[in-house]
Amino acid sequence: MNNWNKQIADMLADGTVALVIGYEEGSTPQKTRPLFCHDAVAAERLVMDGRCTHNLAVYLTKKELLPAEGRIGVVATVNVLKSALQLMQENQIPEGRFLLMAVGPEGKLTELPDAESLRQYIAAHPLPDNPEVAALIEKIDAMSREERWAYWQECLSKCVKCYACRAACPLCYCTRCIVEDNRPQWILPWASTLPNIEWQINRVMHMAGRCTGCGACYAACPLHLPIHLLTKKLTQEINREFGTERPAKGNVLSTFSPDDKENFIH
């Protein structure tokens, strides 16, 4: 048993935390899966390595899965921490409710109790850009407009509107999504090319300046549609147009600078 597993088992045993969310071995050796530990014994099963790709932050806004009282520990990857920080900024995580923890290379457990410590930890552990994603975006950018339209039309016509992309995203936490709004019916509910495209445009626009780039949407898509390219592209555009710093209060699209530049409004 790793030292950090022991530490977490102790925290569960002495009631420091009521629940710990982490990862355990999956059904195949290549994969891990989320684990909810309610007691010290279960803590032994916790693992943390490069195979841990699920974004556990998605559970932090699911009240029905969490105990009503007590603190909840999360053994988190950097992607989980990034999403958790964003959730804090969006008023979705009550102060002190979650104890986020990172496991270092030697199995050292770091507790990150507040937004500031999260910010510092994330800044100190930058995630490398995925060269495959960047290459794919470049490839699409290089296409003619007609080719891009044909590419996405072909791609999104396959979407079955299962909304797994939405369910997997920690930042898609609305109690009523725009697709469920029927006054007006913004997006037709069935799976067909246009509503599929409209749904993706909405999903991506709603992620503007919020998306942390974890890739959970793509990972969750049963058809492996490259929808993460859309959010990634959007993030690239925002970084280019407005800089990589995000506003301390509000969002990229709910703030502005009088000096914002464009070349298409005449």
Binding site: R145, E146, Q200, I201, E241
Partner: protein, 154 residues
Amino acid sequence: MDENKAAFEPRIIAFVCNWCTYAGADLTGTSRIKYATNVEIVRFPCTGRIDFMLLLKAFAAGADGIIVSGCHPNDCHYTSGNFHARRRWIVFRGLLDFLGIDVRRIHYYWVSAAEGAKWAEVVNQTVAEIRELGPYTEYKKVANYIEETEAAHE
């Protein structure tokens, strides 16, 4: 509808703010400046109110082109609605272009309440350019669920 280019009359929806462009278009009228009949104006309190979904819905409903117009920067009746709108359009336009949606069909302008003549030019120029591009058939095709399904079955 006749898809023949010569006979093609584009359908264009203009999303405008009440305080600058709507008033500017009123001035075009009081100045009796003539312009093409292809544009229908929808009045919003402010460009900040113009939801990007409404633009998509206009295309879905059969628009061939769109005009979005409001107060010049620093002239917004609500101080900053047009600044918010500008950011929104910068991001939205980039995304649409990446998706291969024809961004040449959405024309953005600043037209003040004093620019009656500019409004007429804006309309005529947009109509001419959209006429040149032809009907937005590719979007209409995906918008028509039944036709699309039938095509898939064939």
